[in-house]
Symmetry: C2
Subunit: 196 residues, 2 copies
């Protein structure tokens, strides 16, 4: 028998196990059985700490939202120059995806969008905030003369995020067959040519 721990600790373990499963096998394979195996506990014990799968989904979304997307806001609130901030956000995001492939898989899973509308709305809201954060940094870059005038901050932010998202997609799709860091560096270099 597994040693006993408080339900708070077990909840965290279960959420981490779920994230690991999504990263390795995708949202489709995020079954109670798989989570239990990854967390090293029985299936029934999962239900001791969560009322059901939906509650695990919510907890996972909360974890991703608070621990991850808050990072960009912190960087954006710092005192560096706008372009430096953008660069840091960009490479942090890429590094994060590399480390936790489950994050983009979960956030952009059509199963979540279509099967858990309330959760999808929460996630859409967080993404909206993320877009606004980056938009603000780009707008500052334009005012300060680091970025060329005439560009639209919001559309440029969407372009940057699309770049990240598409790279992550190609990477997971190709079974991590290329060096995502190297690819990201080339994309960033070109982005600089485009926006300056």
């Amino acid at each position: 028998m597994l040693e006993k721990k408080s339900t708070n600790i077990r909840k965290e373990e279960i959420v981490q196990a779920a994230l690991e499963v999504v990263g390795r096998k995708g949202v489709r394979a995020l079954t109670i059985s798989a989570i239990a195996a990854s967390a090293g506990m029985s299936e029934a014990n999962i239900y001791r700490h969560f009322n059901g799968k939906d509650e695990i989904y919510s907890a996972l979304a909360d974890f991703i939202g608070s621990s991850v997307m808050g990072k960009a806001a912190t960087i954006a609130g710092g005192s560096r120059r706008p372009l430096e901030k953008l660069e840091t956000i960009f490479f942090s995001h890429i590094a994060l995806i590399t480390e936790h492939p489950g994050i983009p898989r979960f956030v952009f899973s059509d199963d979540i969008h279509l099967g858990h509308r309330i959760l999808a709305e929460t996630l859409a809201l967080r993404i909206g905030n993320y877009i606004e954060t980056i938009t603000g940094v780009i707008a500052a870059g334009v005012s300060e003369g680091e970025l060329k005038p005439g560009i639209s901050p919001r559309e440029t932010a969407l372009t940057l995020l699309g770049m990240i998202q598409f790279t992550a997609l190609r990477w997971t799709m190709s079974n991590a067959s290329f060096d995502i860091r190297h690819e990201a560096e080339k994309l960033w270099a070109n982005f600089l040519v485009l926006v300056r």
Copy 2:
């Protein structure tokens, strides 16, 4: 009893029904039962024309690949100016997604990437060709002076595709709650500022 038709016709009907199901309910809901209901035939009849679900997936991928991604190649091979070609490809792609939301859902589904490796490789190959096609057009645009020198054709192509992909994602995720065409026009206008 349903009227009898040749297996070729039924295959097309089944593939279209499958695409419709993916567009409406996502890859997770792409069950034999759902396909049969959408195609208006019995579940057993699906197996009369396909050996199994995997074969339906392959046929769907073939349909998407040949009928859709071939379009960009046709446009790219035309005699217009590079920037005009890019614009046409961009808006064709957006229009296509609007009409068949199942296409991006299927192509970018983690269920396909992780659960059907061979299919994922085929799709990755097609996407690679698509990227190369757009890269070629951008390179021509640079040579002809329509696009500013110094930009990297491949990375700029990836940026453009990421823009499309991210827009499609936000659109399906938000339950089609904004005017994608309008959004696409703003993105294109900004893209022009970036590349010229």
